[in-house]
Symmetry: C2
């Protein structure tokens, strides 16, 4: 299996607001480097650098003003005299407006955010554009007849909406790649999100569309981040009704329950019969994850890969979350080895 | 002029996220104590403790589940093992849901918030309920035929919406008092907000109603907090259309421009002819304010009071913002002295 990887991810290393104080992000550079090492140790296959893509590929799923904001935010933040990471302070909730973009950076940061876990730093744009290009390159290789590829993306993407960052995510790599498949001629694409946290951004981007099915298995939002999306009754809207499926599971979920949900998800996808499949691959479902609450064992990740392979569909794995850094390489690569029939 | 004041405000002393780090709130206890000292130094009149009121008075403008959250949040936060102030980490922006209340405190904090400037601490509920009672007591005295009263509220209230906290605000003291006037028999009530920051909470609470007019003079939200409300085109909706008026002014505004806006605001109110008037009194329009951007002089605050007195309407002043602590007493009391024809 091909792996696509860019060392530019290291340019993004930020802080987050959690438990009432500012701490280094759980989403840290060593995550991707640990996975890359495991890819090499297990001889998964060639490792390629991503190609370059124009931002017009990102604005297929994000608004132009949001992408422009991501490009310029750090410069505007520096102009305020601040030397810390750029974090929002107020968010457009409920009846508050999100039609008029503020002119001042404090306002823009909140306007384009859902949380205080996605700080912008000096290297954020270079890292997130390289991450999106990583996903696009994997997509492109599959269009050119690879059966499977692993986009070792960092920062992750699935919490990023059409016009907001959040949950360590800025550009939605999985959605950008899924749209890339459609733009390259696919008629139907499915995104299966197995990260512990609901992929609210991907759901939001495709919620009104029938050409992209989104299916997600995740911690119940009643008790887990991102809290405000991922319920069962979110089935899509308009043309997209019936093409969005959430499978929230309680804290403490082990393999048996998880495997049943995965079977249900795979059945939905098989019925939809997409031309290609994008997997938002989070391994924070692992029992040792510091900010998640499922109890999968490392060996369970083989089984995830095996079941996905049985769908017999061109498949792009896009790396998302997983915060137990010591084990993230083993767990992520176990999914890929399982997919290839190796244990 | 009667002043209503409770020392319970000191029980709330919190931290906020600003400029990428956690700092002590600009909204600090010495603010109210400085104003109280000036009230006494200038012999403004008697100072009374607030009466006690049932929470059912607060739920006339706030949702029951929100008030319950405010009462219980600190206990739930402590149960997580945290010893810091309770701050949210994710907010229900844009398409994210605000119908299903999360069960976990991290989710609840964001569900009921618009920013990270309104931390909940051990004493927050006692302070904010005393602050709301301060406004209600002032209202009650006016219903009993006082011509004017000063509710020296702290924490402030005008950013708090029907179901969210924000901008140092938890219970919307001005809205609770305005509703109190209506419940006591008034047919029409007006709220004039002269704080530097738009009173998004008060606007939201009365936006669909014709029995409460909201008028606000404030820093243009394009460049000033709260950024996502306070534009000119917010005129109310449904039955409330035409009963909401925003007068945003640019950074650097001095008295001449401010006075013109105040005249416009007073004209709107005079035409409406309310049975009573609530003034959301912020003095962060002062030139020395550390987080605001108008340039009023201390003597200008006399003129605000004089113009409000000319409306010849029973008037309740409710204290909101103002962060230049050294001058807050002089500036706030200058408005009140101006109202009474004193300089």
């Amino acid at each position: 299996m091909l792996t696509i990887f860019s060392p530019s991810h290291r340019l993004h290393h930020a802080t987050e607001l959690k438990d009432g104080h500012i701490i280094p992000c759980f989403e840290m550079p060593s995550r991707a480097d640990t996975i890359l090492k495991r890819v090499k140790d297990m001889d998964l296959g060639d490792v390629l650098a991503p190609d370059r893509y124009d931002v017009s590929r990102y604005t297929r799923v994000h608004s132009e003003r949001y992408v422009r904001f991501l490009q310029n935010a750090w410069i505007e933040w520096l102009a305020t005299g601040s030397t810390l990471d750029a974090l929002p302070l107020v968010w457009p909730v409920r009846e508050l407006r999100h039609d008029i973009e503020p002119e001042y950076i404090d306002g823009k940061l909140g306007f384009y955010a859902m949380d205080a876990g996605s700080a912008i730093t000096s290297g954020t744009w270079d890292a997130v554009s390289a991450s999106a290009n990583t996903a696009l390159t994997g997509m492109s290789r599959i269009v050119q007849n690879e059966k499977v590829a692993f986009a070792l993306c960092r920062p992750p993407g699935h919490h990023a909406g059409a016009e907001y960052m959040g949950g360590y995510c800025f550009l939605n790599n999985a959605a950008i790649a899924a749209q890339g498949f459609l733009d390259a001629g696919a008629k139907k694409i499915a995104v299966l999100d197995v990260d512990y946290h609901h992929g609210n951004g991907t759901q939001g981007i495709f919620y009104h569309r029938a050409d992209a099915m989104f299916v997600s298995i995740h911690g119940d939002p009643k008790t887990s981040y991102p809290y405000f999306s991922g319920h069962k009754d979110e089935l899509g809207a308009g043309d997209g009704y019936g093409f969005n499926h959430n499978l929230p599971l309680p804290k403490g979920t082990e393999w048996d329950t998880y495997g049943d949900a995965l079977d249900q998800a795979c059945k939905k996808i098989a019925q939809y019969a997409p031309d290609a499949l994008v997997i938002s691959l989070g391994v924070d479902t692992f029992k040792g994850d510091p900010i998640s609450h499922f109890l999968l064992e490392s060996t369970d990740f083989f089984k995830i890969g095996e079941r996905l392979a049985a769908l017999n569909t061109p498949t792009l794995f896009v790396m998302e979350g997983g915060y137990m850094v010591d084990d993230i390489g083993v767990n992520a690569v176990n999914v890929l080895l399982g997919f290839e029939g190796r244990r």
